[in-house]
């Protein structure tokens, strides 16, 4: 019962915060709403018994990505201008509603192969052996490290003063 209450509260918070991100005129407030949305998603990971991912979500999205976005807002003086829609507002809204209807229908009409097995108590050790163990994901881990290095070098190159 507690899980259901937590799910509905977190769902309402996440959807309301996401709507605030796309509808608020003040960009700084929109970024704060984005942080709220990230925190609610971390709570949803907890209700899905993904404890390690919830911690990662708080660390990376709330800790790093949100700070980067706020830094970019400060550096570009966007707060005075505000957030406005372009002239494609109405067609984009219509196609979004169309997409939402089709996707919800597809989710509801499909019979998913749900199985009921006992869940893992703590996922950190299992995730570690899945990532680094025998026959695991060691090559994608190395590629991800290379991707992060490329992203760091690219960002430094792009914002460097001539």
């Amino acid at each position: 019962m507690g899980l259901e209450i937590a799910f509905w509260v977190l769902t309402i918070v996440a959807v309301a915060a996401a709507l605030a991100v796309v509808s608020l005129h003040n960009i700084f407030r929109a970024s704060l709403a984005l942080i709220m949305c990230f925190l609610a998603v971390a709570g949803l990971f907890v209700t899905l018994s993904a404890d390690f991912l919830a911690a990662i979500q708080v660390l990376i999205y709330v800790g790093a990505v949100a700070v980067l976005i706020i830094l970019a807002i400060m550096l570009t003086r966007e707060v005075q201008r505000g957030s406005f829609s372009n002239r494609l507002n109405v067609p984009v809204l219509l196609s979004t509603i169309l997409f939402l209807g089709v996707a919800v229908f597809a989710v509801m009409a499909t019979s998913w192969p749900v199985v009921t097995l006992p869940l893992l108590e703590a996922t950190t050790t299992a995730l570690g052996s899945e990532l680094f163990g025998e026959g695991g994901f060691i090559l994608p881990v190395e590629i991800a490290a290379l991707l992060l290095l490329a992203a760091i070098i690219g960002a430094i190159t792009l914002v460097r003063e001539e």
Binding site: V15, V21, I69, E78, I97, V115, G154, A155, I156
Partner: protein
Amino acid sequence: MTLGLEHYLVLSVVLFSIGFYGALAKRSAVIILMSIEIMLNAANIALVAFSRYVVPGLLTGQVFTIFSIVVGAAEVTVGLAIIIAIYRRRETIDVTKINLMKW
């Protein structure tokens, strides 16, 4: 009513649609990046929900989510660097005014 896979998938679809609207209909490049982050989070919710309900104990969806978070972090880093570089040259990040490469 007990929670099922459909609850999480519908939530993921709703969040993805909100991000989709924001990414296509907004003028500010920072808001567009924030909308893309919302879409990535929606995909992560769907991945973890599939991992929880379809293959519990295997954690494949959670591994994919870790890689998705890594790619999202790299994307937002480079994206904000590009936004700051454009702002330095053109004094605006309104994407309707950045039309240098438009045919």
